[in-house]
Every structure is written in C-alpha cells, then in structure tokens.
Symmetry: C2
Subunit: 422 residues, 2 copies
C-alpha cells in the first residue's frame, strides 16, 4: 500500500464517457490498497472557451484587476472536473471528495495567471485518505493570502500534481497523457525511436525545453526540487489493464544520479525548428558589447536562446544568437535601427531557416568525445554546423533547417539509440 | 448617493452581448453616484448543463457526499458569471471586483443543495465600495463552517441578492426579471390585468406561493424579515433609459403596513391548476382522525395545501384536502391501502380536474364582506364552489378546472382591478 498521485489531462476528462473510464482506473488503484489523490485538468476545450468569453467582453488587459477576474473565470474549469470525477467515483461505489485549490488550501503568491505555489496544507487530504476516500484536487489553481483565486498558467495542472505529491510525500506521481512515455527522439521523424524506461531529471528538463511538450517544464523542476518520482504513461491503455503492468509502464523520471541503473551516454535527440539565427558582424571587441546588443533585445521582451561569440580577429568579432522565429524580423529591425548605429559593427545578417539539434545525456558528463562523435557524424552526412553550444548534459548545433530529419536520424543511429539499453 | 443591490437572472446573463448590456446598465447606476453591488445568476442553461453531466455519471443519490459534489459543480455557473460581469465592467471603464460566496464569505448551514444563509460578512465588500469599485457577488451559493461550498437551491440567487442587501443595509434591492412587475393577475388570462406600483410583503408572499413565479418565495420572506425594500422590474428596458424613470419602474414590495399609500382591498387574483382534491368520506368523528389521515400522507413526503373538515352528522364527517396533481394517484393509493382499513371510513373519492382561485389583499383584514362578494360573483357566473379556505389576507376557493379563466376574469372585474387604484 502506497500513497499515489494520478494526474489526468483535459483529453482524459473530455467527456462523461472518458471521465467514467478515469474513475474506473482510479477505483482499480484504490481497490488494490493504495491511498489515491487525483489531480484532473479541465475538460478539453473548456479553458479556451472561458477565456474566449472574457476576450469578447474586454480585450486582454494588463493589470491585476483584469488578471484576477481571468483566474476567477478559468479556475471553474478544473472545479467542474473534480466534482464530476468525484461523482463518477461514487457511481463506481468508491467514497470520494473533491477540493478546489483554496479548500486544501494550495497557497500561491499573488501573480495572477502565472502564480507560483508557496505551500500546501495536507491536513484535510490526510484525514480523508485515512477515512478511505479518494481525494480529488483541482489542478492549475490555488489561492493567495488575501483569499483571491490564482492560476498557475497553462499546463499548470502537471505542476499542481507534482506539488501535491511532494507535500504528501507520495510514493509516485503518475502523469497520464496521450503519449506512452518519453522517447529517444520524436518517432514521427525517426521510426526506430525507442521509449525510455527511465530518464534522468536533468535530461528530461533538456528534452522538455526542446519542445517534447510531454510535461510542463515547471512541473519537472518542481519534481526535481522535491525528488518526487514522476512517471509519464499513457491514458489510452484499457482501464482494467493489470495494475502491476500499468505501474511499470511509461517512463520514470529519476532524481538519484548514482542509482545503479543502466545509464546510456546519450539518452535522446531533441530538435527544434522554431528558432532563427541573427549575427552582428564586425563588432569592435570591447567590453560591454554583448550587453549593448542583448540588452536592447531583452528590453523588447525577446527571448534569446543560443549565444555565440567567437574569438576576435583584428580587434573585431562576430556575435550571433538565436531567437524564436516569430521574433526574427522584429529583432533584425531593432538591431538595425537602435544598435547598429552606435556600435560600429559592419552588418546585421540572419537566417530564419535554421534548426537546432541536441544530443542529451547525463552520461556525457563523464565521457569525453561525445561531442566530437556528434560532429563527425554530421560531417559524414555533409551537414555544415553553423553554431555550437554545449552544457554539461547537452550539446546543441544549429544547422540548415533542410537537414534536420537527416541529422536527427543519423545521430539516433550513431549513438545506438535504436538499440535497447544494455 | 445610495447603496443599491442589483440582481440579474440567467436570461440577462445569457450571452456576452447581454452581459455587456448588464455592465452598461450597472455602470450607469454607478456613474450616477450609487455604490453598486451586483448579484448575477449563472448564464441561462448552464446549471442544467452541469447537473446533466452529473446525472450521466451517476444517478441522483441521497447522501451528503453526492450532494456536496453537486454543489461544487453547480456553483461554478455563478462564478463564471461574476468574473465575466467584472471583466465587462472593466471593459466599460469601471473598476470592479468579483467574489464567490466563500470569499465574502456568505456563511450557510451544511444542507447541501438547499442550504440556508446564516450570516454575511460585509467587510470586504464595504472596503471595495469605499474604493469606488462595483462589487459583484455570486448568487445561489455560500460556504459552510467546514469550508464546503453550498448552494441555496433553485432560484437561490434572488435570496442571495436580498440577503446581501440586508447585510449591507442597502437602500433598495432591484430584481431585474423578464417581466416588468407584479400584476393584479396573469395578463395571459385577463388582458386587463394591471401592473401594481406597490404590493405588500404578505400579499406578495401569497401571490408567489400561488405560482406567480416572479420571485423565489424564500427571497420575499427574507426581505420581509430584514425589511429590505425590494423592487421587481424589467431587464428588457434599454440600458440607457433615464435612471430616474428606471428607479420608479416595476413593482415595489413594501413592508410598512401603515404607510399612507393607496391600499386596495384586494390587490390581485392568484390561481393554480396544479392541485388535486382528495376526500375521505364517512369518517367517524373521533379525536386523532386528522392526524391518522394526514400523518400517513406526510410520511410519504406528499405536501398538502388546503385542508377542510366539515361539522359532523350522525357521528360521521367528511375530510378533504388538496395535494399537487403529480401526487394525486399516489395519495389515493396510499389512503386506500394503509389508512382506509383502520379508519372505518366509507370511501375515498377525489378529483384531479380542479383549480384553486384566490383573492389576495391586505385590505381584507379590515373590510368585512370581501369573501361574500367573491362567493356572490362566482355564483352569478354559475360556478360551484367545492372547497373554501381563508386566511387574513387571502380567500381561496377550489372549483372545477374548466371554470378557471371565467372565475379569474369575473373576480378581476368584480373587484375593479382593471381600474387604476384611487
């Protein structure tokens, strides 16, 4: 018997038929002797429907008063879900009780529409669990000290589930999604992509930030901070699948580095074609240049990803960085108008048709030669590398967009990711 | 400048277009210098939609656990409304803030789905009003001492509005509805029916209980208890109607009996064809008989309205009462099976094709001959009276259903209700 947290997404809660299946699955876990806490999202489409009504009434405005009302509004989606799931469980003969975030309470700061969880009181939930009830808690929302409803932002239900699991010291937090785990890379690009049975927390962060989109990145950070064992698994298995099999399915995200588990050098290949490259050429190599360039970009609220500055030649250097493709034109205009004149740089160039490909793996830390193996592989395929960026567990290259699939497939094979881990 | 409470029904909140019109009307009142508290219902159809989802998942069950979840579920309808109205007001340039019942808080007992308000804390609302904000409070719901969301039952938003008005000592509580006031009788039956400018609180209670359905009866009782001036008026007037005209429109429900206002002897004719008559004939006239008959009926949760027992003859009497037409067959069966055998009565008879017609008026208290005028009028029309029941401000008769319209029209004319009050 263990304390288990289940999290179900909007698709799983999308209709009364699907809610009934969730209830049957949860009831199975409870009947197997587990103490169950469930965090469901709003029914799919509901949050958008509600925010759409708000937009019809007044265009989105900054300012707390408006954002506060958006939270009042959007939080009802999850409240409907918890009540319906509690009712469905009662229909299955299970005792159950639902709580909105403010009832637990899940305390957050007051940053409406993007609040952060500060503390969770587990008292009520423990009493209910001890009484044999399944407890259902709204995802996505909490309450601030003044008693205002807050929401955590899109995908916040993952974070809620992990936070509740952390507060309850749950044995495991199971995130049911529409994929059956974390893969070595996107199976749509590489059919040989393999599901990982386990993936390290930091690797998962790198994968998530590269748009694998399975888990909200904040929830992974949260899980890492509190060492919550987190499992991503499919909500499409039959509800009555053997619980022993289900409990081992999907991908477990681990936080214990020196566990003696199989640890591949490279765990996966991530890629992203949402970026564009901008270069400022012939910049005088004097202190403060990076700030002059990137400060102006940051002031315009443009996020920068990879940044490269090469060694200078003849007192001049080239400065390159990547931004989201949607911000490309704005960035180039900004630099030409505001930065170039005062900088003494030669030229602004750029390319929106690039992509970033990364190899990710905890094992890289202790293995030299991983990056060079990547570069050799790409070279053998005749792919020119435009930019390189490395971290302890990731090596990323920026290449021409048209080579993306080729690069991902070649790297997947070169690092033997299509082979089961030894 | 006064503190005013507005209440808008589900139709008024039925779409973003209509919500915008409500916002414009409220903004007009606020700009005229009034402190405004608004209590809107859920968007029309929303409560039924939500409860329909619950029914799909588990058939309605007694028991607190299920009822508690229904309240979690249904209360979201009003929360959506308050947030949208707050946003619409901000769109009109008015500062506004919304509160769910638990945030005010509106404390109720724990009788889920039919809770009663116990107290309202006006602190937060007063602070916001003093800061120039329009305050929007959910109708229909509150919170119990343990922090569970409760609802007041259908039509509860009227009661919420009156309760908030009472707690805030509002100058007036304006209930915007789809009719433009209280009429001397149903205009669909008597085209000459006149809108009353004022109606006494007790008269209104008698009218409401007869199914005039304009106001939830509990809200009128509440208004009476706390002497909240209550006005029923149309939500279909243009939002920019002159505020002086709007403030005097509709029907004002008054609580001051000895105000020197024009006081007709009879204020209105109410009628109801939802009832059926049941008679127990030849009952031995001994103590405890009424209890034997009606106790069994009450135990079966059947509500009884008019009760008549005539003087006995030869130690036997006839005992008659009316029940809702839907309960007619069940009542007759029950009496035949369980009551008749032990009672020594001769026979159970009944008639489902009856109706009740009432004349209602505070003035009846001090005027003799009102009832006899009613009976003469019906006699002149050749209508046989089957049962009679009287109270201080009401005289009701049960007659054959087919004479209902005839009776109502004749009485409306006989009591000169088609003439403007002197």
């Amino acid at each position: 018997m263990a304390l288990i947290v289940h999290k179900y997404g909007g698709t799983s809660m999308g209709s009364t038929e699907r809610i009934r299946l969730v209830a049957k699955r949860v009831a199975k876990w409870a009947r197997a002797g587990h103490q169950m806490v469930v965090v469901p999202s709003a029914m799919s489409g509901e949050t958008n429907r509600l925010l759409g009504l708000a937009k019809e009434l007044a265009p989105a405005k900054p300012g707390d008063a408006y954002q506060r009302e958006l939270d009042m509004l959007a939080s009802t989606g999850e409240q409907v879900s918890v009540a319906l799931l509690a009712i469905a469980l009662q229909g299955e003969g299970m005792e159950s009780v639902s709580y909105a975030g403010w009832q637990v309470p899940i305390l957050t700061n007051s940053a409406h529409t993007k609040a952060r969880i500060e503390s969770i009181d587990d008292q009520k939930v423990r009493v209910d669990l001890a009484a044999g009830k399944v407890v259902i808690v709204t995802g996505f929302q909490g309450v601030d000290e003044a008693g205002n409803i807050t929401t955590l932002g899109r995908g916040g239900s993952d974070t809620s589930a992990v936070a509740v699991a952390a507060a309850m010291k749950a044995s495991e937090c199971l995130i049911y999604t529409d994929v059956d785990g974390i893969y070595t890379t996107d199976p749509r690009v590489v059919p040989e992509a393999r599901r990982l049975q386990t993936v390290g927390f930091e690797e998962m962060l790198e994968m998530a930030s590269m748009g694998s989109k399975v888990l909200q990145i904040r929830s992974v950070e949260f899980a890492g901070k509190y060492k919550v064992p987190l499992r991503v698994l499919s909500s499409f298995t039959p509800w009555d699948i053997d619980i022993e099999i289900e409990a081992k399915s999907g991908t477990l995200i681990t936080f214990e580095e020196d566990e003696n588990m199989e640890q591949a050098i490279v765990s996966g290949i991530a890629f992203n074609r949402d970026e564009a490259k901008v270069s400022v050429l012939g910049v005088p190599d004097t202190p403060g240049i990076a700030y002059q360039i990137l400060g102006a970009v940051a002031d315009a609220n443009i996020e920068v990803d990879v940044i490269i500055q090469n060694v200078s030649k003849d007192g001049k250097t080239d400065f390159s960085f990547t931004v989201h493709r949607n911000d490309y034109a704005r960035t180039v205009d900004l630099l030409k108008e505001k930065v170039l004149p005062g900088l003494g740089a030669t030229e602004i160039t750029g390319d929106a048709k690039i992509c970033k490909v990364s190899i990710v793996g905890i094992g890289m830390r202790s293995h030299v030669g991983v990056a060079s193996k990547m570069f050799r592989c790409l070279s053998e395929e005749g792919i020119n590398i435009q930019m390189i960026s490395t971290s302890e567990i990731k090596t990323s290259v920026v290449i021409d967009e048209k080579y993306m699939e080729l690069a991902v497939r070649a790297l997947h094979k070169a690092f033997e990711l299509d082979q089961p881990a030894a």
